[in-house]
């Protein structure tokens, strides 16, 4: 099933580490600003609008990591 991980920038190094240790260094990821949790619905909507194209692109199997 196509999937993509949404990772905030503070946790991006951890995403790299886990992806490599599990043998999936190219696992599709999209970087979000940090923090996201608890920042309110308006901010979540704004972030979603910024990254939706990237998410769709990675789900289609294209786009850079």
């Amino acid at each position: 099933m196509p999937s993509v991980a949404l990772v905030t920038e503070d946790y991006w190094p951890q995403g790299d580490f886990v992806a490599k240790s599990l043998g999936m260094p190219d696992a599709p990821r999209v970087k979000l600003p940090h923090p996201v949790a608890g920042t309110g619905e308006a901010n979540l909507t704004r972030i979603a609008e910024q990254v939706v194209e990237d998410i769709v692109s990675k789900l289609k199997g294209s786009g850079e990591l």
Binding site: Y11, P13, Q14, F17, V18, S21, L22, A37, G38
Partner: protein
């Protein structure tokens, strides 16, 4: 055989290990080939024997690699059976090591030792200051486990160990049960092991929270008040246990508090049952303070912070006095932060002279 590093002297070797991120930040004993071989010899096992993988780095734990950590931590060869049992415990899938090492929570592996190995592989302290400085086995066994989690499991702060602050128990967190002053059977007996077994029980836990209770034998509510104090510490609304629910936690009774239960003719199971009941909480309060984790329950009534009474581990340790300790937990991962117990294999170990 694992790769070796070279340095002109031990001081340079120490700096090299610090720079490579192989230490816990404190000086270590340099794991020279001779020292590691001596530690492996104590196990009478093949150094290449594989114990399992340690996440999140998925490094392969062998006897030799664990011996390296034990040397670095300052262990005596006598401690190796306990160190190996502790490593086996965290490697057990039920421990969820990868998730536990990666979480933002402060959780650290608390190592509880029961049975004859407390003395034959130690002594592992169980009395005054058992979780503090001054006890070589407690300090170095817990530290050895941490060094395996760093160097085999790949845990590095901020990139793979995402604990927001951590806690001092991440350096070492090990004690024995004071079986001799406990009114209850040893913890491992309650967990289904035999009296002659030596057992290590490991659980990811927060730092110990002190619980003050000034007992009064003339107070007819003496037991109820002690139980109430312990329950507040175990699952107050700042703990994951109260918000996420379903995990385990630890109660370390000092002998004086344990005696209050003994005087009331309460056994371990009855204390667990009472604490389980006292940690049921109002759903309305969870909705108020639980944030993203507070919803989804049927409104009104109470909810259980622990699924079952036996998720509350109770042991006796420490000096006698006013203070017991509780260790709430992370309560997450596939197995909800359960405790894992492993028998300490003492039969096959050989004594290595100093």
């Amino acid at each position: 055989m694992i790769a070796t590093l070279e340095a002109i002297d031990e001081s340079a070797a120490l700096e090299q290990l610090h720079e490579l991120g192989c230490t816990d930040g404190l000086p270590v004993i340099i794991p020279t080939t001779a020292r590691v071989e001596r530690m492996v010899l104590a196990t009478l096992l093949d150094g290449d024997l594989v114990l399992g993988e340690m996440g999140p780095g998925m490094g392969v734990a062998t006897i030799e690699k664990v011996a390296v950590a034990a040397v670095m931590a300052g262990c005596l060869p006598d401690y190796m059976p306990i160190v190996l049992a502790a490593v086996k415990a965290v490697i057990n899938p039920a421990f969820d090591l990868t998730e536990m090492q990666s979480t933002t929570h402060c959780t650290a592996p608390l190592v509880i030792v029961n049975g004859p190995a407390r003395t034959s592989c130690g002594p592992v302290a169980s009395g005054f200051g058992a979780l503090g400085p001054g006890h070589r086995a407690n300090a170095s066994i817990g530290r050895a486990l941490r060094l395996t989690m760093i160097n085999i499991g790949g845990a590095q702060p901020g990139s793979s160990d995402m604990a927001l602050l951590g806690h001092p128990g991440k350096f070492t967190y090990c004690l024995a049960e004071d079986e001799e002053h406990s009114p209850f059977p040893p913890l491992h007996r309650s967990l289904g092991f035999s009296a002659n077994d030596s057992v290590v029980t490991v659980i990811g836990a927060e730092a110990p929270h002190s619980v003050l209770y000034s007992g009064n034998a003339d107070d007819p509510e003496n037991v109820e008040k002690l139980l109430s104090q312990l329950a507040v510490g175990l699952a107050n609304f700042a703990t994951n246990n109260a918000i996420l629910t379903g995990g385990a936690a630890v109660v370390v009774l000092n002998p004086e508090h344990a005696d209050i239960f003994s005087q009331a003719n309460m056994n371990r199971e009855e204390v667990q049952q009472k604490l389980w009941q006292l940690t049921h909480k109002p759903v309305s309060q969870l909705e108020q303070v639980g944030g993203a984790f507070g919803g989804g329950r049927k409104p009104g009534g109470d909810y259980k912070t622990f699924n079952k009474p036996e998720d509350i581990l109770i042991l006796t340790a420490g000096g006698s006095g006013l203070y017991s300790m509780v260790m709430p937990s992370w309560c997450a991962g596939k197995h909800k932060n359960s405790a894992v117990s492993v028998v300490v294999e003492t039969d096959q170990f050989c004594e290595i002279p100093l």
